[in-house]
């Protein structure tokens, strides 16, 4: 199925459910402006659907060879980073995240020299953040076990 057809059908389903949800609002007058937007979105989605049906789209090779594995690893690492940010503190978790990303996503060409370099860059990067924002600007960040 064409990409635009998929996206227009998903949008139409979303628009219909959002429109129905307007009926449950505490004050119906608060729904006036969102209603206008949702109706316009519905019309635009329908036009996109018609366009995808009647206009021939150029074939796209995008999607082929997408690195799903790498993408999900990165996504998962960011989630873990969020979970531990409030426990470990911003600076420590940022340092560990930096190391994890560079070691796990760059495991294919990891050598002892590169490992030392990645740890050093992570340390310097987090150190600069700490000096600039904690020491110089005194910006509040999540405090954890250490920093």
């Amino acid at each position: 199925m064409k990409k635009d057809m998929i996206v227009s059908l998903v949008l139409l389903a979303g628009v219909i459910s959002l429109y129905l949800s307007l009926g449950f609002m505490d004050d119906p007058r608060a729904a006036n402006f969102p209603r206008v937007i949702i109706i316009i979105m519905g019309i635009l989605s329908a036009l996109l659907l018609l366009q995808s049906i009647f206009l021939k789209q150029p074939k796209s090779s995008e999607g082929a060879g997408f690195p799903f594995g790498r993408f999900f690893i990165c996504f998962f690492m960011i989630i873990v980073y969020f979970i531990f940010m409030e426990t470990l503190g911003f600076y420590l978790s940022a340092f560990l995240f930096f190391i994890a990303v560079t070691f796990i996503l760059g495991s294919a060409d990891l050598t002892a020299r590169k490992a030392v370099l990645r740890v050093a860059v992570g340390f310097v990067f987090t150190g600069i953040l700490f000096l600039l924002f904690k020491v110089l600007l005194a910006v509040q960040t999540p405090k954890g076990l250490l920093l």
Partner: protein, 502 residues
């Protein structure tokens, strides 16, 4: 002009000057880094300015905005990848020059031409912005409502390959802006989770929509080998290049004029300015066949045009809240978080901040040229920064920037959710710029729609209030023309593609 000269010394204080220089150097490096867009760079910086004095914060954003446009030329010249869309025309002659061993000459021409174009653009901005702001003083709720819609329609047409997707993005942004409590009635809307109680703030949206898709795009491109930078140091060429560059009067004039005119047109952007200026410089050249083979006049025309656009692109932004480019849309977010609302008030109530900001943009052009020339010798090093470091650094900065504004972890969740959704959206041809503009202009559109409706109900009726009156009709026609032009462009592109396929 008198106000500009009056507030000019404010931009020269130690803090402001230091901020400006750091912003310019940072902007040049970020602009030169392949894989990092200037828009994302400015978006990431917005929250950090929150902790600064408004004038200093805006100076930082303005300096980065100015320098990233010129910095994008470095990667265009050295590795044939434009750092920003505005630098597409630069690579046509810039990269061939680098291949001929004249990379440093090309970089010098780029920065000197950027300075010439940038200064001319700034003069246009200083002359035209205050009078236009006075016109905006006459706008009531209906005109302001249509101005918001016009801003979205312009951005929708430009930043996405499809006007339908651009408009859908803009409407999605408007819808996001309604999350939270209704401004007039106080009733909750679309609050499906506690995280959404306060609505979606500008900073998490800006960072999420621009930075997170970039992080995932960098993850995708891991393992792709970039071209090695063509860089050979040349000795004793600075003054010779300056003299030769300033003799390129025709190319510099064409570039500066085209860039300034295109800049004023909301949404047209540096990419269009650079390409049109390059094309015109080629047509008016005595040796048009030399364009594309490493002619410095081509670099001069393209770079003077895309930097001449910087100042004038802020005219519709500062007067009517209509950004001239996606980066200017992010800059609008920066203005709003400091409580500065575009329009005549900016030049009356906040004259000191506004004129200091404008003065700093002039200084940023000069600093960009000076530091660009100094750094050009080392610029090839920037190309060697591994994507792995970028992925980690951008993510950490995105999280930090989002959290630090309101000390809210909920904002981080909103930022990441929006960013992931935008990454998927980009795969389906959607662009973040209309969504961001929808979020920024949403409250302006709703507020004026509701105010206008209240007036209309007690007066002439909704239709007459919103659809009659010369200014309303002019803005509505501009909306129709903006969308119509995009539709026409798409039909033409579709026919061309069809003919090419036959």
């Amino acid at each position: 002009m008198a106000e500009f000269l009056h507030y000019f010394p404010q931009a020269l204080t130690f803090t402001n000057l230091l901020t400006l220089i750091l912003g310019v150097i940072g902007g040049l490096v970020l602009g030169a880094t392949p894989g990092l867009s200037p828009t994302m760079a400015v978006a990431l910086l917005v929250p950090f300015t929150f902790h600064m004095d408004p004038a200093t914060g805006l100076i930082l954003l303005g300096a980065v905005y100015t320098a990233t446009v010129a910095g994008g030329a470095i990667s265009a010249i050295l590795i044939n990848i434009p750092g920003a869309p505005a630098n597409i025309a630069t690579l046509l002659d810039g990269h061939p020059m680098a291949q001929q061993g004249k990379s440093q000459t090309a970089l010098y021409v780029c920065f000197i031409s950027s300075l010439v174009g940038g200064l001319i653009g700034m003069v246009i901005m200083i002359l035209f912005t205050p009078p236009l702001a006075k016109i905006a003083l006459k706008f009531g709720p209906s005109e302001m409502f249509w101005i918001a819609i016009f801003g979205i329609s312009v951005m929708a047409g430009l930043s996405s390959g499809s006007i339908l997707k651009g408009l859908l993005g803009g409407m999605f942004g408007l819808l996001i802006s309604t999350i939270g409590y209704s401004p007039l009635l106080g009733a909750p809307r679309f609050v499906y989770h506690d995280v959404l109680t306060g609505g979606v703030a500008i900073v998490p949206a800006l960072i999420g929509l621009f930075a997170i898709p970039q992080v995932f795009a960098l993850v995708e491109s891991l393992g792709n080998k970039l071209e090695r930078p063509d860089f050979k140091p040349e000795k004793g060429i600075l003054f010779k290049t300056i003299a030769e560059n300033l003799k390129m009067v025709k190319s510099l004039s064409i570039g500066s004029i085209v860039g300034s005119i295109i800049g004023i047109i909301p949404g047209a952007g540096g990419q269009v300015a650079g390409l049109i200026a390059y094309d015109q410089a080629k047509k008016f050249s005595k040796k048009p066949e030399s364009f594309g083979t490493g002619n410095p006049e081509g670099v001069a025309a393209a770079e003077s045009a895309n930097n001449a656009m910087v100042g004038p692109s802020l005219i519709p932004l500062l007067t009517l809240s209509i950004p001239g480019s996606p980066t200017a849309a992010v800059l609008l977010g920066g203005l709003l978080i400091h409580g500065l609302f575009p329009g005549p008030d900016l030049f009356i109530s906040h004259a000191e901040v506004t004129y200091t900001f404008i003065a700093s943009l002039v200084l940023a052009q000069i600093a960009m040229c000076v530091f660009g020339i100094i750094l050009s010798r080392y610029s090839y090093m920037v190309m060697s920064v591994p994507n792995l470091f970028m992925i980690a650094a951008v993510t950490v900065l995105a999280v930090y920037g989002t959290y630090s504004v309101q000390n809210s972890f909920d904002d981080v969740i909103v930022m990441f959710s929006l960013g992931t959704l935008m990454y998927i959206g980009r795969k389906f041809g959607f662009s973040p710029a209309p969504v961001v503009l929808g979020i920024i202009l949403g409250p302006i559109a709703e507020d004026n729609y509701l105010k206008g409706k209240l007036i209309a109900d007690t007066d002439v009726g909704v239709f007459s209030y919103f659809f009659t009156g010369s200014m309303n009709i002019i803005i509505i026609l501009l909306c129709v023309a903006s969308i119509g032009y995009s539709v026409y462009g798409e039909i033409r592109a579709y026919r061309k593609a069809k003919e090419a396929a036959v």
